[in-house]
C-alpha cells in the first residue's frame, strides 16, 4: 500500500510536470510566431525590404544534423525504456555531439551571411531577422543541451528508473520540438528568399 501510493503520487505529479513542458513549447512557439509575423509585417511594408541573398548552404547541413540528433534522441529514449542503459548513455552523448555540431554549423552560416554582405546591423532589417531567428533558436539549443546533460548525469548517478524515464521523456519532447522549430524557421526563410 505504502509503496503503491508513493508511485501513484509520483506518477500524477510527473504527469502535471510533463504537461508544463508542453505548455512551455506552446509559449515558445508563440514567441517564434511573433518573430516570423513581425518579419512578414516588416517585409511586406516596402519592396526594398526582403532577404535578397541566397541563404548559406550551412543551413542545409544544420538541418541534416538536427534531424539526425532527433533520431539519436529517440534512440536514447527507446534504450532507456528497454533498460539498455549503456546504449542510452551512448545515444545521449551522440545527441549532445550532434547538437554541438549544429551549433557550429549555424555559427559558420552566420559567417558566410556576413561575408555575403547580409550584416546583422543592416538598413534592410529582413536580413537582421535571419540572425534573430537563428539566434533565438540557438538559445533553445543551449537549453536543450543542458537538459541532455542533466538526463545524462541522472543516469550516471543511477536515479530510479521512473525519474530517469521522466527526464528522458521531457528532454525528448523538447528536443523534437526544437528540431521541428528549426525546420519551420528554415522553410519560412526559404519561402521568403
Amino acid at each position: 500500500m505504502e509503496i503503491n501510493s508513493v508511485q501513484v503520487e509520483d506518477r500524477q505529479n510527473f504527469k502535471a510536470r510533463k504537461f508544463l513542458m508542453w505548455l512551455f513549447i506552446i509559449s515558445s512557439f508563440m514567441m517564434f510566431a511573433a518573430l516570423t509575423s513581425g518579419f512578414i509585417v516588416y517585409t511586406e511594408g516596402n519592396v526594398e525590404r526582403g532577404i535578397k541573398v541566397l541563404l548559406p548552404k550551412q543551413f542545409m547541413y544544420s538541418t541534416l544534423l538536427i534531424l539526425m540528433s532527433s533520431f539519436t534522441m529517440h534512440m536514447a529514449y527507446l534504450s532507456a525504456k528497454k533498460l539498455q542503459f549503456a546504449n542510452q548513455k551512448l545515444y545521449i552523448g551522440l545527441t549532445i555531439l550532434l547538437a554541438l555540431a549544429f551549433f557550429f554549423s549555424q555559427y559558420s552560416a552566420w559567417q558566410s551571411l556576413y561575408e555575403s554582405g547580409a550584416y546583422f546591423v543592416n538598413y534592410n532589417a529582413s536580413q537582421s531577422f535571419i540572425y534573430v531567428f537563428s539566434g533565438a533558436h540557438l538559445l533553445h539549443i543551449i537549453a536543450g543541451i543542458f537538459m541532455l546533460i542533466y538526463a545524462f548525469i541522472g543516469k550516471i548517478r543511477n536515479i530510479p528508473q521512473v525519474r530517469n524515464i521522466f527526464r528522458m521523456e521531457v528532454t525528448s519532447i523538447f528536443w523534437h520540438f526544437i528540431d521541428i522549430l528549426w525546420i519551420y524557421l528554415y522553410v519560412f526563410l526559404l519561402l521568403n528568399q
Binding site: S5, E9, F24, I26
Partner: protein, 635 residues
C-alpha cells in the same frame, strides 16, 4: 477523471507521514516566509508586494495630479522630498512628469493588476478550490514570485539612476524609447524598464504554465471542469491568454534591445536628433505597435478576467443565489479569450492603417460587447431578488459591475474607427480604461482581499472600515474619471504636462483642480484599507472556518494553514459550486462536498446528469416521502 481518482491513496500516504505533525519538517524562517514553496504563502507574498506597488503607483499618480491641477504653483515640500533634480523650486519638472506617468502605468498594469491580482488569487485559490495539495511545480511557483520581485526591484531601481526612469509611456513606443539620446528617460531608465519587463514576463509565464497544468491535472475526485467555480475558470482562461500573448512581448522587446544597443534598424528610420541624422534606416515603428498590442490588448483581459471571476463567486455567495447562467458565464469568458487576440488593431486606427483593415478590427472589437454584456446581465440577474448580504466584499463586487458598465459603454465609442479619429490620445481614452480595467479590476482585487482575507490570514477584516473604504473610493473614482470624458470630447490630449499653453485647454484647469481633490480624497481612503489590512493580520477577530457560509472547497480546510491544505483525505466533490438557497434544503447553502444522498429533499432531476440509477433512487425516495416535502414546498 481517471487521474483524480488516484488522490485517495496518495492522500493516505501523505497523511500518515506528515499530515499531523509538522515539527519534523524543520521549517526555518527562511523556508517558511521567504523562499516558501507553499502556494498559500506565495499568494500572500504576491499580495503584499502587489499592495506595496499599488501604494507607490498611487502616490505617483497624486504627484502628477498635483502638477495638472496647479501647474504654476510651487510646493516646497516636493523639493524637500524629490530633490532639486526632479522638483526644482517645488514644481514637478517635465522630464519627471513623463517618468511618473510612465511608471504609474507600468506598475499598475503589470505589477498590481497582473501579478498582484492573478498571482495572488490564482495561487491561493487554484489548489484550494480544486482540492489539490499544492501547485504542479511548487519550485517553479517560488521562482515565479522571485522573478516578479526582481522585476519590482529593478523598476524601483530606475528611480535612482542619473537619467531617471523610463519616460516614453507604458507602451514604450519607438523611436522615442529606442534612442537613448532622445530624452533623458530613454537612457539607463529605459534599459532597466526592459530588463524589469523581461523578468516580469518570465515570472508571468512560469506562473501561467503552473496554473494551467494544475487546473488540468490535479483536480480532486468528482471535480470535473463543469463543477469548477467561476474563479477557477477565469484564472484558467487568463493563464491561457498569458501563455499565448506574453511571448510576443518578449519578441518585441528583444528587437527593441537590438535597436537600442546593437544599432539594428527594426523600428528605426529617417530620424534626426538634435540636428544630427541617425544612421538607422529602413525600420518600421508600426511593427512595434503590432507586436506590442498583440500582447497589450490581451493584457487588459488578463487584468479584468480574474476580477470578473472573483466577483462571480462573491456575488453568488452574498446574494445567496446560484450564479445566473453558469454556462453562459464560462462561454462568455471563452469568447472574450478568443476575441482578445483579434482586436489589437483598434489601438492603431490612426497609424495609417488601411481603412478596410480598420473596419475589420472595428467589428471584432465591437463583438466583445456581446460576451461582456452577457456577464453584466448575469451579475445583475444574480443580484435580482437575492438575499443580499452587503459585506465589504459584496460592495466592491457591485462596484466592479458598475465600473464595468460605465467604462464598457465608452469602449463602444472608442472601438469605432471613425470616432477614434477624434477621440484617440485624449482624456476620453484615459477615462475609458481607468474605469473599465483600472477601477473595475482594482475593485475586483479588493473584493477578493476582503472575501478571502479570513482564508489567507485566519482573521477577519473590520467591516466598518471596509464600508468607509468602499464608499469613499467608489464615489471618488467616479469623480476623478467621469469629468475626463468631457475633457476628451473637447480634444484635451493625454500625457500633456500642463494645460496652460493652449487657450482651449485652459478652461479645463478648474476641472483638473476638482479631479485632483477627488484623487487625494480617494488616496486618503486607502489609508483605511491599509490600516485594516495590516492591523487585522495581527489583531483582527479570529475567523471561523466558513465565515461567509460558502459552498466551495477552500472553506473545508482548517483555519490554521498546513502544508498540503487538508489534514486528512482530500474531500471529494459531488455537485456544482452554486447550490445556494436550494428549495427543499434546510440551510441556504450546500457545500460541494455534500453528496446528493444526504440532500434527498432538495435534489432536482437534472442534478443527476442522466444517471438512471440515481434518478430511480430519488424517485423511490420521493414516493415514500411524498407528503412531507410537498407540504413544505408549497409553504
Amino acid at each position: 477523471m481517471a487521474s483524480t481518482a488516484t488522490h485517495d491513496s496518495a492522500v493516505l500516504h501523505q497523511h500518515d507521514n506528515h499530515g499531523h505533525d509538522h515539527g519534523h519538517h524543520k521549517e526555518t524562517f527562511l523556508t517558511k516566509y521567504i523562499f516558501s514553496q507553499d502556494h498559500k504563502m506565495i499568494a500572500k507574498q504576491f499580495l503584499i508586494t502587489g499592495v506595496v506597488m499599488a501604494v507607490i503607483a498611487m502616490l505617483l499618480s497624486i504627484l502628477f495630479r498635483l502638477q495638472l491641477a496647479w501647474p504654476d504653483k510651487s510646493f516646497p515640500l516636493l523639493e524637500t522630498f524629490l530633490g532639486e533634480k526632479w522638483a526644482e523650486g517645488g514644481r514637478i519638472k517635465p522630464d519627471f512628469y513623463l517618468a511618473i506617468v510612465t511608471i504609474h502605468g507600468t506598475m499598475m498594469v503589470f505589477f498590481v493588476l497582473t501579478a498582484g491580482l492573478s498571482g495572488t488569487f490564482s495561487n491561493l485559490l487554484i489548489p484550494l478550490q480544486l482540492g489539490a495539495r499544492d501547485m504542479a511545480s511548487p519550485f517553479l511557483n517560488m521562482l515565479s514570485y522571485w522573478l516578479f520581485f526582481t522585476a519590482c526591484v529593478v523598476m524601483m531601481g530606475s528611480f535612482f539612476v542619473e537619467s531617471g526612469p523610463a519616460s516614453s509611456g507604458w507602451t514604450v513606443y519607438p523611436p522615442l524609447s529606442a534612442l537613448p539620446k532622445a530624452i533623458s528617460g530613454s537612457g539607463t531608465g529605459m534599459t532597466l524598464w526592459l530588463i524589469s519587463m523581461v523578468a516580469f514576463v518570465a515570472s508571468s509565464l512560469i506562473g501561467a504554465l503552473n496554473y494551467i497544468s494544475t487546473i488540468l491535472n490535479m483536480r480532486t475526485k468528482g471535480m470535473d471542469m463543469w463543477k469548477m467555480p467561476l474563479t477557477i475558470w477565469a484564472f484558467f482562461l487568463t493563464a491561457i491568454v498569458g501563455v499565448l500573448s506574453f511571448p510576443v512581448l518578449v519578441s518585441a522587446v528583444v528587437l527593441l534591445i537590438f535597436d537600442r544597443s546593437f544599432g539594428t534598424s527594426f523600428y528605426l528610420s529617417d530620424i534626426v536628433v538634435a540636428g544630427q541624422v541617425l544612421p538607422n534606416q529602413g525600420g518600421s515603428p508600426v511593427l512595434w505597435q503590432h507586436l506590442f498590442w498583440f500582447l497589450g490588448h490581451p493584457e487588459v483581459y488578463i487584468v479584468i478576467m480574474p476580477a470578473l471571476g472573483i466577483t462571480s463567486e462573491v456575488i453568488a455567495t452574498n446574494s445567496r443565489k446560484p450564479i445566473f447562467g453558469y454556462h453562459a458565464m464560462v462561454y462568455s469568458l471563452i469568447g472574450i479569450t478568443v476575441l482578445s487576440f483579434i482586436v489589437w488593431g483598434h489601438h492603431m486606427f490612426v497609424t495609417g492603417m488601411n481603412p478596410f483593415l480598420g473596419g475589420v478590427f472595428m467589428i471584432t472589437t465591437l463583438i466583445i460587447a456581446v460576451p461582456s454584456a452577457v456577464k453584466t446581465f448575469n451579475y445583475l440577474a444574480t443580484i435580482w431578488r437575492g438575499n443580499l448580504r452587503f459585506t465589504p466584499a459584496m460592495l466592491f463586487a457591485i462596484g466592479l459591475v458598475s465600473f464595468f458598465i460605465s467604462g464598457g459603454l465608452t469602449g463602444i465609442f472608442l472601438g469605432n474607427a471613425a470616432l477614434d479619429i477624434n477621440l484617440h490620445d485624449t482624456y476620453f481614452v484615459v477615462a475609458h480604461f481607468h474605469l473599465v480595467m483600472g477601477s473595475a479590476a482594482i475593485f475586483g482585487m479588493l473584493c477578493g482581499v476582503y472575501h478571502w482575507y479570513p482564508k489567507m490570514f485566519g482573521r477577519m477584516m473590520d467591516a466598518r472600515l471596509g464600508y468607509l473604504h468602499f464608499w469613499v473610493t467608489f464615489i471618488c473614482a467616479y469623480l476623478v474619471f467621469f469629468p475626463m470624458h468631457f475633457m476628451g470630447i473637447d480634444g484635451v490630449p493625454r500625457r500633456y504636462y500642463a494645460f496652460t499653453e493652449f487657450a482651449f485647454m485652459q478652461e479645463w484647469l478648474t476641472v483638473n483642480v476638482f479631479i485632483t481633490w477627488a484623487a487625494i480624497i480617494s488616496a486618503l481612503a486607502q489609508v483605511a484599507f491599509l490600516w485594516n489590512f495590516f492591523y487585522s493580520m495581527f489583531y483582527g477577530k479570529k475567523a471561523e472556518q466558513n465565515p461567509w457560509q460558502s459552498t466551495t472547497l477552500e472553506w473545508t480546510t482548517p483555519v490554521e494553514h498546513l502544508h498540503g491544505n487538508w489534514p486528512g483525505e482530500i474531500p471529494s466533490v459531488y455537485r456544482w459550486p452554486y447550490d445556494y438557497s436550494k428549495p427543499g434544503h434546510d440551510t441556504d447553502f450546500i457545500p460541494q462536498t455534500t453528496p446528493f444522498s444526504e440532500t434527498m429533499s432538495s435534489n432536482l432531476p437534472h442534478d443527476f446528469e442522466d444517471n438512471p440509477e440515481a434518478e430511480r433512487i430519488q424517485e423511490e425516495w420521493e414516493k415514500q416521502n411524498a407528503k412531507t416535502p410537498k407540504a413544505t414546498e408549497e409553504v
